[in-house]
């Protein structure tokens, strides 16, 4: 099984009622790469996945190629892609083993070959004891393992996952996320993973495509997207961002809480953006910024504080200090100036 490279060019999607689900999009996905489409519901990520799968046709002028071969006119059943759905979509009238072997049965493989391949996949997903179970006897996590095994059984050219973990509870989600990550690395298969969960995207993606209202907001590695967000939208969508309004002046950035030592502040900057991990508590008397505690949450290993400065949304600061924090208490803050973004 050679991993396939996928290219979308000018792929837009307008639905019959006139809604533009996807602005024309150009995208290259490398062979063996795991690409995550990330965004809130309605951002066009699922539509893009469905165009790649062959479940939707792109608007006139768009094309999808697999390894340089145009597959735009091919329906999904001719594209040989594996799909995993949020709702699992397992066949209720078939057993676990029959579900996994379905794609091979369709391809008229000999019965012994099917049995062997199904056995391999059951083992790979560690669900061998479930082979003869009915689908309604399985838990959600087991169902999604069966769905993964089914999608992989016929050695697809690419694996397309549409919010595969969304229906699971948090603990199981973490376990399966690790498993999927290991699986994708091991198989080296080209995979496209759609999610609205940024933690999932960061953990799984070689690259992440952040989408907003049918448009690309940013595309890059998880590190790029987190550390160098291209827009406010991306900055606010990925992780937590602090925002402080003010005016640049000589020596820094004047805010309601004091002079932020941000020498590199662009002339037009009216807001400073920085991550909680680049923000630290400091001695109130000497710190450049000061604010009052709005809320404090003890998390065990650390305390998360919401510190309000002026009329801005409270800043998030985390500290390992072991003392108790009182609401209304004045605290000093310092920010790593090299990490401040203008956006």
């Amino acid at each position: 099984m050679q991993p396939v490279s996928i290219r979308l060019s000018r792929c837009g999607k307008t639905f019959p009622d006139g809604t533009r689900a996807l602005e024309p999009l150009d995208l290259d996905i490398g062979a063996g790469e795991t690409m995550v489409f990330l965004g809130p519901s309605g951002c066009g990520k699922t539509t893009t996945l469905r165009i790649i799968a062959g479940l939707e046709a792109p608007d006139e002028g768009g094309s999808v190629t697999f390894d340089g071969v145009d597959v735009t006119p091919l329906p999904i059943e001719k594209r040989n892609v594996g799909m995993v759905f949020q709702s699992y979509a397992l066949f209720p009238n078939m057993s676990v083993a029959e579900n996994i072997g379905y794609g091979l049965r369709i391809r008229k493989r000999p019965a012994t070959a099917i049995r062997q391949r199904v056995g391999e996949l059951l083992e790979m997903m560690r669900i061998s004891p479930l082979a003869d179970r009915r689908i309604d006897q399985l838990s959600g996590g087991q169902r999604q393992r069966v769905a993964l095994a089914r999608a992989l059984a016929a050695e697809p050219r690419a694996l397309l996952l549409d919010e595969p973990l969304t229906a699971l509870d948090a603990k199981l989600r973490d376990v399966l996320r690790l498993e999927i990550d290991g699986l994708l690395r091991r198989l080296g298969i080209t995979a496209i993973y759609v999610t609205h969960d940024q933690a999932e995207a960061m953990a799984l993606g070689d690259r992440i495509l952040v989408m907003d209202h049918g448009k690309v907001a940013q595309i890059g590695s998880p590190r790029d997207i987190y550390q160098r967000p291209a827009s406010r939208y991306v900055a606010e969508f990925i992780g937590t961002m602090n925002r402080l309004s003010g005016q640049p002046e000589s020596g820094g950035f004047r805010t309601a809480g004091g002079l932020l030592p941000w020498a590199a502040a662009p002339h037009a900057a009216r807001e400073a953006w920085f991550r909680p991990e680049d923000t630290a508590l400091a001695d109130a008397a000497s710190a450049p910024l000061s604010g009052s505690i709005d809320a404090a949450f003890f998390l065990g290993d650390r305390t998360r504080l919401f510190v309000s400065i002026g009329n801005d949304k409270p800043l998030v600061v985390e500290t390992a200090e072991r003392r108790e924090f009182r609401i209304g208490e004045t605290v000093g803050l310092q920010v790593d100036a090299s990490r401040i973004l203008a956006l």
Binding site: I76, N93, I106, A151, A154
Partner: protein, 274 residues
């Protein structure tokens, strides 16, 4: 002690329903069975339905006709029901309500409509006469009856099928297609299994109605030999009450058995058995 009190209270509350059941169901049925054995043949009348070639043939043709009606109706309702549920177009709602329109027609009206279509003065006859020089008339045969039965069975099944089609998960079809299934395989492996409970439930009603239908057969009469017609003939023309009763009982019993078998397959979803 308290439990026994509660039980006797429950029995007392069930009494009216029990009396009603006995008076209007059990008694007539027992009476019917007894009358069936009061004729010249005695209880051998019940065997006559198998031994007498005419009776046996009419029983077989009744069952074949009902089975044929059920199969054809399910195929038509299945295709139309899924299509109507999946596609919204102008006039969709009107079309659905038109399909359920014949629900209220008595069998006589259905028979009349079959004659208008395929009878001696019928539309099909006129067209075939103009085209081939020969008049195609099949209203007064089993074919005509089959057509009429299918016509009045569709409204009884299509709404059930549509309700079930609405519950089909489109993701299942997409999953099957992603695994390489052609549209035909999707129908076979996903849609038909998904609609199976609805098919069995609607099919049971369809079958039972077709077995017992009388008005349409009566209107088309001449060359038709279905059991309800035979019962009518025995009862009114031959005044053979015993035979009519025996045939009625057997007709009911056979239908009930067929539906019980269907229920076995459906795993208890056929509400209409019996």
């Amino acid at each position: 002690m308290a439990l026994r009190r509660e039980n006797s209270l429950l029995i007392a509350l069930l009494l009216p329903a029990g009396i009603f059941f006995c008076a209007f169901f059990l008694l007539p049925l027992v009476r019917l069975f007894l009358i069936g054995g009061e004729g010249k043949l005695g209880y051998a009348a019940y065997a006559a339905i198998v031994t007498d070639r005419n009776y046996f043939r009419s029983l077989v043709s009744t069952l074949v006709l009902a089975a044929g009606t059920t199969v054809i109706t399910l195929i038509i309702s299945g295709i139309a029901g899924v299509f109507l549920q999946r596609h919204s177009f102008r006039g969709n709602a009107v079309l659905v309500s038109m399909l359920t329109f014949p629900l209220a027609f008595p069998g006589v009206v259905i028979g009349f409509m079959v004659i208008m279509l395929a009878g001696r003065q019928g539309l099909i006859g006129d067209i075939t006469l103009a085209l081939t020089g020969e008049k195609l008339v099949f209203a007064y045969s089993m074919a005509g009856l089959l057509m009429g039965y299918v016509y009045f069975s569709i409204p009884r099944t299509i709404l059930t099928v549509m309700a079930a089609a609405e519950k089909l998960d489109p993701k299942l079809e997409e999953a099957a297609r992603s695994l390489g299934a052609s549209p035909w395989r999707v129908v076979l492996d996903v849609i038909i299994p998904g609609l199976k409970p609805a098919f069995l439930a609607a099919g049971a009603i369809c079958f039972a109605t077709a077995v017992g239908a009388f008005g349409t057969a009566f209107t088309l009469a001449t060359r038709i030999n279905v059991l309800p017609m035979v019962i009518y003939t025995e009862f009114t023309l031959q005044a053979n009450m015993a035979m009519a009763a025996a045939l009625s009982f057997v007709l009911g019993a056979v239908t009930w058995i067929v539906l019980a078998i269907a229920r076995q397959f459906a795993g208890g979803t056929v509400a209409a058995a019996g």
